[in-house]
Amino acid sequence: MFNIPKKDAITFVLFAIVVLTMPIWLTPFGASYPALLQKFAIYALLAVGYNLLFGLTGYLSFGHAAFLGVGSYAAVWSFKLLSMNPVLALSFAILFSGIFALAIGYISLRRSGIYFSILTLAFAQMSYKLAYSVLSPITHGETGLQLTLQDPRAIDLMFIERGSSLPTSNLFGISMSGYSGFYFTAIILLIGFFIAQKITSSPFGMMLKGIKSNENRMNYTGFNTKPYMLTVFVISGIYAGVAGGLLSITDPLAGAERMQWTASGELVLMTILGGVGTLIGPVIGAWLIKYFENIFSAWNESVLHGFFAFLPDGFEDIVVTISSKFVGEGWHLTLGLMFVLVVVFLPGGIMEGARRIGTMFKNNKDKKTKQSSDSEKGEG
């Protein structure tokens, strides 16, 4: 069950080291604080799961935010009704997002291509609108679902007295906020990454890649692609549900805007920016976008003045004035520019860039020894 090809094993170990040492290597970038580290791990998981659907089968879903939202709500309700234990909350997140994905997938997968995208988008928008207004008794609408002091918490209260302050989610005493929360999310991310690796290298994964290259041909050769598609759609939805559950575990509040179409769009951006179909690419894309959203957006003119202090006075002001349009509230602009550049020059995302640099070195080395042969194209 834990057998994977040696190449994948190396990737996994390297990935684990990178993820688990994030608090150290992100410090110089100003991103090493628990809230953002948790977001990095959670959105990486979301992107990995999304890539299973979009990267392997080419089906572009615009509705994954709905599963994220369902997972969040399920986790918070599990906190409210049963226990502050994150494992229990995650089980409910998996269960409900799975059922939800099954229902949406069953209908949406009757169509492919752009019609599939529009259907998923429609379902996600419907879920968002429902959560925002009609389902307010369950979701608490705009104000979001929160813990209160009067929550039943049936299981917890059998063992401990009701405290005077709000409880925090904890895994048998280990708090899920702060750095311990980050390591919890990081370990779930590693598990998710490992499963994604297994799926990609399995016969089931081959089948999905076959669907991507030509679904009709798959049908003609006698495979019924529908069950495969539905399975991977549900798996991908569960990944999103787990990510949503983790969002609630590290910060027990679920808001409707998690289900908005912009959240789904962001996920597509992450995947394309990093590299569709690769395992690492979407993770890098997720980290970049979250970094931009949280750190880049907080740079203001005084930060820039500090940054460009080495320039002569008058020139410094000009540079700061120009560059301030691209940071702070202008972070969307920078992200957009970067996205355009990546899509135009590196259609395979950042991973393609990395691969090109890799082949460049390889070719140079090969030329010295013998004539270079065509470089193999790895699947990340």
């Binding site: 834990f2 604080y33 207004s133 979001g144 209160t148 910060d251 959203e293 907080a298």
Partner: protein
């Protein structure tokens, strides 16, 4: 390759690595936690006091957010003794000396709420966990205020709410660490109803269009209760989606409903659109039941009035504050804000400015930055000279009680900012209510 050997090694390495890192990460927090009772998160320990300004810089309320940020930077200047001092000179009682807070210089960090709960909590957590912010303040939406307030309660960080008008902020979702200076929908209803009775009589039929979210519901409930108490009948209440551009499908049924007052429980761009389209439908020129059709917009702000242009002329609503007020505090604030930025402040800017000063003053009175003591200093605090007359921070729900303004769209504006005229300053006694009617619980002073 031998899979088994490979797998075992990998797992061993992983196990060791994670176990090691978890211990390294958790151990310090266990040892340092609760060493001294007086130790609290982000204690500057004699260094600069850092305030976290969490305002919408992008999204539908970015205009309000930009104005809030202007007010905050002005407040920081005044606290540090720069500029003309603004309300520091009119605030009573005041313990502020213009030398920062407790003699420590005041600096600030900013974050963008995007008017989304998640984004707002992210930026608040960044400011608390990374930047060392001692308090979080700001915001222009009740959803965000409630979400950030809950976070601040968990974190043990004081939250001074910005513009938030829903009853929930200091009602069912009130928190020990959250404070609101702004008024709420209940007060709007209580202040507006008598004026409506004087202006439009007690025999009226109302028709509500309401934004389909939490604030809209509480606003509609407050106005409905208050107008029915003066003898009005409510014909129908209709929910409209937030961000709706075209309201004509909602205005047409009103024309045939037999109602003669249209109440628009909308805010921001929604209000600008629904009001503009109502005027374009010729509502103001119509007569129903032998009376002129009237439009009421319960929550007014100058920034919205600017968006709606001529259409607001003669429309009644309520406001927390307006720059045209002539008391000493308002004049001092408008003067220093105008000198700094060249135009008068909005009510969002006013409430944020006041909140910052109130927090600083409470620290001075408590003689410490330790949050539970500062909270006790704010609870039940009575003050004056901040633009709203005599005001009290009620201890039971952390809501400020003060006079409420009923305003009308100015028919003959003398400048592009002179858009609202104050019809009446409704005295505090008339808008006061029992703290227990909305439920909720404040929670503890001490959080671990």
């Amino acid at each position: 390759m031998s899979n088994i050997k490979n797998g075992v090694n990998r797992r061993k390495v992983l196990k060791g690595a994670t176990a090691g890192i978890i211990t390294a990460g958790v151990a310090p927090t266990i040892f340092t936690k609760g060493a001294w009772a007086q130790e609290f998160r982000n204690d500057p320990k004699g260094g600069d006091v850092i305030l976290g300004f969490n305002v919408p810089q992008t999204g539908p309320y970015s205009d309000e957010g930009a104005d809030e940020l202007r007010a905050y930077t002005l407040a920081v200047k005044h606290l540090n003794g720069e500029g003309d001092g603004g309300m520091l000179n009119t605030m009573q009682p005041s313990n502020l000396k213009g030398n920062g807070i407790l003699g420590q210089k005041v600096t600030y960090v900013t974050g963008d709420t995007q008017t989304k709960s998640d984004a707002a909590r992210d930026s608040a957590r960044r400011m608390i966990e990374r930047d060392g912010a001692l308090i979080i303040t700001g915001g222009s939406s009740s959803g965000v205020a409630v979400a950030v307030q809950a976070l601040c309660q968990e974190m043990g960080t004081i939250f001074m709410a910005g513009l938030t008008h829903s009853d929930d902020t200091t009602g069912k979702d009130k928190k020990r660490y959250g404070f609101r200076h702004f008024f709420n929908t209940y007060m709007t209803g209580a202040a507006l109803a008598p004026v409506l009775k004087d202006e439009y009589g007690s025999d009226r039929v109302a028709y509500h269009l309401t934004s389909d979210y939490n604030w809209g519901y509480t606003q509609q409930r407050a106005i409905k209760d208050a107008t029915e108490a003066i003898g009005w009948r409510t014909e129908k209440t209709v929910l409209t989606p937030v961000g709706q551009g075209d309201f004509s499908q909602y205005i047409t049924p009103f024309l045939n409903s037999g109602a003669d007052v249209l109440i628009l429980n909308h805010y921001g761009k929604d209000m600008v659109n629904s009001l503009t389209q109502s005027i374009q439908f010729g509502l103001k020129d119509r007569q129903v039941n032998g009376k002129n059709v009237e439009i009421v917009v319960p929550l007014f702000s100058r920034l919205m009035a600017q968006g709606a242009g001529d259409n607001i002329k003669g429309i009644l609503g309520s406001a927390n504050w307006n720059w045209s007020l002539q008391d000493e505090g308002s004049k001092a604030f408008v003067k220093s804000f105008g000198a700094e930025y060249g135009f008068p402040p909005s009510m969002a800017a006013h409430t944020c400015y006041v909140q910052t000063l109130l927090y600083a003053d409470a620290c001075e009175r408590a003689g410490t930055l330790y949050p539970p003591e500062v909270i006790k200093a704010l609870e039940g605090h009575k003050f004056d000279g901040m633009g709203n007359g005599a005001t009290e921070y009620r201890a039971e729900d952390h809501q400020c009680f003060k006079d409420v303004l009923v305003v009308r769209g100015n028919a003959n504006p003398t400048s592009q900012f002179d858009l609202l005229e104050v019809v009446q300053e409704v005295p505090r006694a008339q808008v006061e209510y029992d703290a227990s009617i909305f439920g909720g619980e404040l929670g503890p002073y001490e959080v671990s």
